[in-house]
Structures are given as structure tokens and as C-alpha cells.
């Protein structure tokens, strides 16, 4: 993927999130969101390393992954607004956005749950003779969920082509990673025999390079790899946080974090003209997305439990 493509992705995610936050404030989006602002390089870089047959799983902070994987911004925004045209027909919302046609097996709101789902999917694809790799994203908080550690064991034991991408933004809600993780994050993966690396999660090119190596290795049958991406969440844990006025990060810390902005880092690799062109293009895409979402119908309350079962006798 080219420099400009990576920039387009991080810029798209950033502006999508900024608009989504506005829609939370205006009440168009009910229930709030977990903004991905500041972490865009990870989704952009990791998804750029994948082919169309590959699959991903995501988290409660999932918009970036879903967009980077190529989901339609209009349908994602419609999903956040609970519209019938949304990716999940308005049945999933922010924390469950999925697009199976693009290998997006769903954002998952249970911390640490999706790693084992991605592992099973990757195993199944290999059994079906497909050359698929799965990438599963999760935060530093998930490193303390036993289910995820169990998945590391299965993946390593059975050499499953799954790449564990830990987005270490320093906090699980308000809990600092240093107060939560005994030992080291990569040490936990290494204990299962999984090669694990810590990389700069603010630079899309760095993430792309590391993920490409992991993907190549996984496709060649050598099994899982673990990437700890050091990043920073610029905004609140959740859009409710402003109301709660949680105090857990110093202004100095936030300023230092925000100074390494993936959109700026990637944008600096483009000429001003190229950048402006992409920025305009992104705004046009998001204008259209907004118009599409706002103009879409709400689901019929009579269909509230539609899709609960594939078949109900």
C-alpha cells in the first residue's frame, strides 16, 4: 500500500471519528462511542498488510479497524445511528459493527473475547484449504483476560495463522497498564512460544511493515505472531467520560501523547498539495456518508428480534 493510501486511511478514520463524536453530542448517535482518535496508525497499517480473503476481529473501539478493512463509511455511520441501512441493519451499533463480506467478523464488546474467535476462524479457513490469515485487535486491558491467554496457547500449539495485535494505549479505561500487567505484555505471548515485538503504533508505515512480516510468516505455516503497538488515546475512553469528568491523565501526559499524531506523521510524507487533495476527498466521502446515514430509515420495531435465529422451528 502506498504512502498516500495509508494517509487516506488514517485521515478517514480521524475525520469519521470526529464527526461521530459530534453526532453523539447532537443526539443522532445514541449510547455513545469509544473514539479511536490517536490510534489510527494501527488499524491502517495492519489492515494494509491483508488481502481480501483475510479476516479480522475488533473491539469496543472498533470503527478504525472496520474502516481500514474497507467497510463503507456511510453504512458504518448508519449503523452507529441505528438505521436499517447500517452494516448490521442497526442491530449491532458501534460495539458490534461487522461486515462479513469483507472478512470483518465483528467488533466485540467483551474485552478479550474475540481473540479466540479469530483463532477458530483462521483454523477453519486453513482446514478448508484457504490461505487466510486472521488479525485480532485488542487493548492492553485484554492482556489480563484468561480467555485471551488460552487463545495464545491454542494458536501457538496448533500453529494457527493468527496475528495478535495489542494496542497498548496505556490505559484500560482509567487503569494504567503499569498497575495492571505483571511482567511484560510481550513476555506473556513469548511464554507460549509466540514471537512478540513492541513497535511504534503511531507510525502507519512501521505497523504495516511489522504486520506484513507477521502475515508472511503466518501464511508460510509458522503460526501466530504478537505485535504490541505503543499508542495513545487522544480522546476519552468513551464519549460519556466528559460528563463523568474522570481525572486520570495529566495535561502534560496528554500533550506528549498528542504530539505524536499518526495523521501528522503520515501526512508529513506527502506534499502539501497531495495532502489537501486527500483531505478534500475524505470530506466528500464523509459528506456523502452523512447524507446517506441521516437519510436512512429506522428499523421497524416489529422486527426487533429479526435475525435472532438462523432458523426457528
Amino acid at each position: 500500500m502506498s504512502t498516500v493510501d495509508l494517509y487516506r486511511t488514517v485521515r478517514l478514520i480521524r475525520r469519521f471519528e470526529e464527526r461521530a463524536i459530534e453526532f453523539v453530542r447532537s443526539g443522532e448517535i445514541v449510547g455513545g462511542i469509544h473514539p479511536y482518535v490517536g490510534q489510527e496508525a494501527i488499524a491502517a497499517g495492519a489492515c494494509a498488510a491483508l488481502t481480501s480473503d483475510d479476516v479480522i476481529t475488533s473491539t469496543h473501539r472498533g470503527h478504525g479497524h472496520v474502516l481500514a478493512r474497507g467497510a463503507d463509511p456511510g453504512r458504518l455511520l448508519a449503523e452507529l445511528m441505528g438505521r436499517e441501512t447500517g452494516l448490521n441493519r442497526g442491530r449491532g451499533g458501534s460495539m458490534h459493527a461487522a461486515d462479513f463480506s469483507l472478512g470483518i467478523l465483528g467488533a466485540n464488546a467483551i474485552v478479550g473475547a474475540a481473540g479466540s474467535i479469530a483463532t477458530g476462524a483462521a483454523w477453519a479457513h486453513r482446514r478448508q484449504g484457504r490461505d487466510t490469515v486472521a488479525v485480532t485487535f485488542f487493548g492492553d486491558g485484554a492482556m489480563n483476560e484468561g480467555m485471551l491467554l488460552e487463545a495464545f496457547n491454542l494458536a501457538a500449539l496448533w500453529r494457527i495463522p493468527v496475528i495478535f495485535v495489542c494496542e497498548n494505549n496505556g490505559y484500560a479505561t482509567t487503569m494504567p497498564v503499569g498497575s495492571a500487567v505483571a511482567g511484560s505484555i510481550t513476555g506473556r505471548a513469548r511464554a507460549f512460544g509466540i514471537p512478540a515485538f513492541t513497535i511504534d503504533g503511531q507510525d502507519p508505515e512501521t505497523v504495516l511493515k511489522a504486520t506484513t512480516a507477521a502475515v508472511t510468516r503466518a501464511r508460510s505455516g509458522k503460526g501466530p505472531m504478537f505485535l504490541e503497538c505503543l499508542t495513545y488515546r487522544f480522546d476519552a475512553h468513551h464519549t460519556f467520560e466528559h460528563r463523568a469528568r474522570l481525572d486520570y491523565r495529566s495535561p502534560d501526559e496528554v500533550a506528549a501523547g498528542v504530539s505524536r499524531d499518526p495523521v501528522v506523521i503520515q501526512g508529513a510524507r506527502l506534499s502539501e498539495h497531495e495532502r489537501a487533495e486527500v483531505d478534500d476527498e475524505v470530506e466528500a466521502v464523509l459528506d456523502a456518508a452523512t447524507e446517506f446515514a441521516l437519510g436512512s430509515a429506522h428499523p421497524d420495531p416489529a422486527d426487533a428480534l429479526k435475525y435472532l435465529y438462523a432458523v426457528m422451528p
Binding site: 463480506s101 465483528g106 479466540s116 477453519a124 480467555m147 487463545a151 491454542l154 500449539l157
Partner: protein
């Protein structure tokens, strides 16, 4: 006619399913050596790619199965201890069951969870003796509790073919039940269809799993006293065969439920609620259950004291027939 045991019938259902559908595979703890006997012979016949021994990682391998199902496979997990379902309640109730709705119908999760030896296993005490089918039904997961080898075969085949998650409870006290079976007549039994295990005129006894056999024994005994008991076996706890139940109760107008799960919010409570909403009864219905919040104590006499038994059933039947 050849005799078929309940456990052998399940084994046969697995073998037939593996044989006819390459997307079916089995996973679980110690299933290659068939520790519970359920999977006996399947490793040598189908190989290690389709009969997977898993490490002791219930949460991960249950979600692993969901992931494999999302990718087009039909996993069958064996849980050899009923209480392990408590460990994976998140993966069943919160993941597998919810995927279809939450994604707006983009996917299906055809996983079957087989609990081999549910309920009291005689002397296995508190953490090995639950029979938690009501919990799954409450969540809305398709739940079956067959009573006979023929139904065990037919419902397991249907569960595996079904496109949704299905939990299959094989009660420990039913595993040894044997039927005279003409193998050529074995076939799928549709989920959600009940079975009249015995027809009668005076009272409908609703029973599930091993308790169907107790109900039949009680019906035999009471027949000698001039009481005609009908035994209705719903076979599937969720969805429930309401029409079958209604037809039986319309005939007898009296109802007793025997249910080997806890009383409050249990399966029996549900049947009584359905009766209150829909049926005209000639006497208040009764239920025979485990006590509220029950935990099975170890000592045999205590273990037995907690489970619903034939004497309690006789007493309940007599009570609903009192003002006949």
C-alpha cells in the same frame, strides 16, 4: 431387533454426521481416547483432524468453535461435566447466541454443545451434578434433553444440522437406557417437537430426559390403581412444543411437571405459567423439582433427597386428582 443404548445412539449420530458432512468436526477434552465413551471409535475412523483433543481451555475453545462456525464449519463440542457450562456461559449466552442478531443476520453459528452425563452422576457432589438446561433455554439457546436412544440419535443429528447454536443434554441417568431399535428407521427428530411417551386420560405428566422413564414407571404403577397417566416428553426445552402440550392437557385437564432442575424460574415453572395462560385445568397444577437454589450434597442419601423422585411424583399426581 438389536439393542441400542443411549450413549451408543449418540456415538452413531456423531459418526453419521461426520460421515455425511465434511464441515462437521468434534472437539473437547480427552475425546480421542473417548474418556466418556461418547466418541469411541471416531478417531480411528475419521482421524485427528476431525476429532480434536483440546487443552483445558474451555473459554477459548468454545469461542474457537464460534469462530470456526463463522468460517463455515459445524463444530460439535463435548463437555464431560455439566458444570463446565457455567464456565462458558459468556461464550454461549453472550457470543454464540447473540452473533446472528447483532450482525443483522450476516452470519450463523451452527455449533452443537453436547453435555454427556448431565445431572446427578451419583457421588460426584456439588460441582459435578448440575443439570442446567433451564439456564440455556432462558437465554434463548435451543436446548434439547432427549429421553430415549432413538431420540438421542435423532435430536443430535438435528442439532448438528441446525444453523444455530444448540445445547444437547444427555442426562447421566439416561446414558444406559436401551431400546430395541431397527437401525434403518433411525433418522433426524425435528427440534421443537414433543412426543407422547404414553397416552392416558386422567392427568398429563410432563417429563424430560431420564425422568420420562420415571414417569412411565409411575404411570405403570398407577394404572394398577385405576389411574390413567399420560406422559408428555417435550424433548426440546426451547423451543417448546406448545401444540403438543396443549393437545395433551386439553384431553386430561390436569397437569404435573417433573423437572430435575431448581424450582425458582425453572422449566417446571415455565410449563405451569404456560398452563395458566393458555389451558383450562380442573385442578391446580403441581410441580416436582429440585429445591430452590439446590446444590447436590455428596452423601448418597442427600444426593437422592434433592432430586425429584417417583414418590413425589405419585403424591403430586394424587393431589391433582383429589377432587376428581
Amino acid at each position: 431387533m438389536p439393542k441400542l443404548s443411549y450413549l451408543k445412539a449418540m456415538n452413531r449420530a456423531l459418526a453419521d454426521s461426520l460421515d455425511t458432512d465434511p464441515s462437521v468436526f468434534l472437539l473437547g477434552e480427552d475425546i480421542r481416547v473417548a474418556a466418556s465413551n461418547l466418541t469411541a471409535g471416531l478417531l480411528s475412523r475419521f482421524g485427528p483432524d476431525r476429532v480434536l483433543d483440546t487443552p483445558l481451555s474451555e473459554q477459548a475453545f468454545t469461542n474457537f468453535a464460534t469462530g470456526a462456525a463463522l468460517a463455515g464449519m459445524r463444530p460439535v463440542i463435548e463437555f464431560q461435566i455439566p458444570s463446565l457450562l457455567f464456565l462458558v456461559f459468556e461464550q454461549l449466552a453472550n457470543q454464540a447466541h447473540k452473533f446472528s442478531l447483532m450482525t443483522g443476520g450476516q452470519c450463523k453459528v451452527p455449533v452443537t454443545y453436547v453435555v454427556t452425563g448431565s445431572g446427578s452422576r451419583t457421588g460426584w457432589a456439588g460441582q459435578h451434578s448440575d443439570h442446567p438446561y433451564t439456564l440455556l433455554a432462558h437465554v434463548g439457546i435451543k436446548t434439547v434433553v432427549p429421553a430415549t436412544p432413538t431420540d438421542a440419535y435423532g435430536l443430535l443429528v438435528s442439532a448438528i444440522r441446525d444453523d444455530d447454536p444448540v445445547v444437547f443434554f444427555a442426562p447421566s441417568a439416561a446414558l444406559g437406557v436401551r431400546d430395541d431399535v431397527d437401525f434403518s428407521t433411525l433418522g433426524p427428530v425435528p427440534l421443537g417437537t414433543g412426543r407422547l411417551a404414553r397416552s392416558g386420560r386422567d392427568v398429563t405428566v410432563v417429563a424430560l430426559g431420564h425422568l420420562v422413564h420415571d414417569a412411565l414407571a409411575v404411570a405403570d404403577e398407577l394404572a394398577g390403581h385405576g389411574i390413567s397417566v399420560e406422559v408428555f416428553d417435550p424433548r426440546t426445552v426451547y423451543p417448546l412444543d406448545l401444540d403438543g402440550l396443549a393437545a395433551s392437557v386439553a384431553k386430561t385437564r390436569r397437569l404435573v411437571v417433573i423437572d430435575d432442575s431448581n424450582r425458582t424460574s425453572g422449566f417446571a415453572a415455565e410449563i405451569l405459567a404456560v398452563a395458566a395462560e393458555r389451558f383450562t385445568l380442573d385442578a391446580p397444577p403441581r410441580r416436582v423439582t429440585r429445591p430452590d437454589g439446590a446444590v447436590l450434597p455428596f452423601a448418597l442419601a442427600l444426593d437422592r433427597a434433592i432430586q425429584p423422585d417417583r414418590d413425589q411424583l405419585v403424591a403430586a399426581i394424587n393431589a391433582v386428582l383429589e377432587d376428581r
